[in-house]
């Protein structure tokens, strides 16, 4: 008798028009990496607090009894064992190792370094982020749009060839501690300050073709913009095909520091227009839509 129910299920399913899941793997990977990063950042923050508490707890006996707290700090740091390289315990050597701090904090920056233009605003959407990104890119045909909840992706076929760019807007601020912390050998991290006072964090990761160059700009007022310039294209089911960087670091910085960005809200007309323009770009799939600038 069970077979009848089984066959009813299967007959029903065979009559259904299943949606395409093309691009889901890539979308899941991108969101998964984000989620892992956020989770690791939370762990790292917790470990920092814990390490601080251990330091305070042991400081009194250190002063009184003269023994070091370094080993205890190392143990706490190692216990976190963060998965992402940029959050891993800094390789500063033996018992003095401390965890590298998260690059983002929940706290908003105290100042507005790159204020948004005045005018009506609406809640930021991934479509608006993509629309604004396309406006700011150098000339070239764009394609393979995708949304990532708090960000967007596009290919740009520009002066250096077809490459992939992703952008993410975060609520919070850059953690100043990230600028001075040691990082793994396959990563470099440098900080600078724009004339406006905005902090710029430039991260290069040698073994990550999706995020080999990441430019983070803290706009203040709770907005951090990150541009990832890839050296490969999106996952095609078998691989990430190699690709040139579609824009330079200077161009990425120029885009990331544009005043139009706002993690909470952006220009209302842009939000409205982008919702119509990119209505066919589902969050979980890539669009075949293309456009050409220049």
């Amino acid at each position: 008798m069970d077979d009848r129910v089984h066959s009813m299920f299967r007959n029903e399913m065979s009559s259904q028009s299943r949606p395409s899941l093309d691009g889901m793997a890539q979308e899941v990977l991108a969101k998964g990496r984000r989620a892992r990063r956020a989770r690791t950042a939370k762990i790292a923050s917790t470990v920092l607090v814990a390490a601080g508490l251990v330091g305070v707890a042991v400081a009194v006996p250190t002063i009184a009894g003269g023994h070091s707290v370094a080993t205890d700090r190392s143990a706490v740091a190692k216990s976190a064992s963060p998965a992402r390289p940029d959050m891993q315990t800094a390789p500063t050597g033996g018992a003095k190792a401390v965890p590298a701090p998260a690059i983002l904090t929940d706290a908003s920056s105290p100042a507005s370094y790159i204020p948004q233009p005045a005018g009506p605003k609406a809640p930021t959407s991934s479509a608006a982020i993509l629309d604004e990104l396309l406006k700011l890119l150098p000339p070239g045909a764009t394609s393979n749009y995708a949304f990532y909840g708090d960000g967007a992706q596009t290919y740009l076929d520009g002066a250096s060839g077809l490459g992939m760019i992703r952008i993410f807007l975060f609520k919070g601020s850059l953690n100043p501690g990230a600028c001075t912390s040691a990082v793994p050998s396959d990563m470099t991290r440098t900080c600078s300050t724009l004339p406006s006072g905005a902090t710029v964090l430039t991260t290069r990761i040698s073994d990550n073709c999706v995020e080999p160059l990441a430019i983070d700009v803290d706009h203040g007022d709770g907005t951090v913009v990150q541009i990832d310039v890839a050296t490969c294209l999106a996952w095609n089911g078998q691989s990430n095909p190699p690709a040139p960087m579609a824009i330079t670091a200077a161009q990425a910085l120029q885009i990331a520091s544009n005043p139009a960005w706002g993690a909470a809200q952006m220009d209302a007309a842009l939000v409205t227009a982008s919702a119509r323009r990119f209505a066919g770009v589902p969050g979980s799939q890539h669009s075949s839509a293309t456009s050409t600038r220049g």
Partner: protein, 165 residues
């Protein structure tokens, strides 16, 4: 990156199947895609730990939890009614297929999950019990009741199996 490659291949292999199961649970392809994607993201975070066991089984459990949480926390687009759909005048195959989908919508989320796991995923009572964190006895009882409800809704006494002994 190797882990990511393995995971992406797993998503490619199992995405359609998982999405179909999600569809039976929520009866909406758009929501099914969302549930599937959310499930895979959660699985990604545990991938290194579970990839050598039975990742698809793990996916199913995560999907179930995600679906039941969704039903608890969000107002669903589904509208549960007290109105039993019209009994089909004839046992036309097309009507039966449509009626099965409609009939599932009249079950509670957990009863629907039990039916889907038992008769779509072909899991045993014991496995369903483990996946839902219930005793086998509860699964049997709820399965029996759910099948009885479906029988009434479908108006097709012989289309469904007798209650499990």
């Amino acid at each position: 990156m190797r882990d990511d490659g393995e995971f992406a291949a797993f998503v490619e292999r199992s995405g359609s199947r998982l999405c179909e199961t999600a569809f039976w649970l929520c009866r909406d392809w758009s929501l099914a895609q969302d549930l599937t994607q959310t499930t895979f993201i959660k699985v990604y975070l545990a991938w290194r730990r579970i990839k050598h066991d039975d990742p698809y089984r793990y996916c199913q459990q995560v999907l179930l939890r995600t679906y039941l949480d969704h039903k608890r926390l969000k107002s669903s687009a589904e509208v549960q009614t007290d109105v039993v759909p019209d009994r089909p005048a004839a046992a036309d195959a097309t009507e039966l297929r449509i009626t099965l989908l409609d009939a599932l919508g009249h079950l509670s989320p957990r009863d629907r999950a039990i039916i889907v796991l038992r008769y779509w995923e072909d899991h045993s009572v014991q496995t369903v019990a483990e996946m839902l964190g219930l005793s086998p006895g509860v699964v049997k009882m709820q399965s029996m009741r759910a099948l009885a409800s479906l029988r009434v809704l479908l108006g097709e006494d012989e289309a469904l199996p007798a209650p499990p002994a």
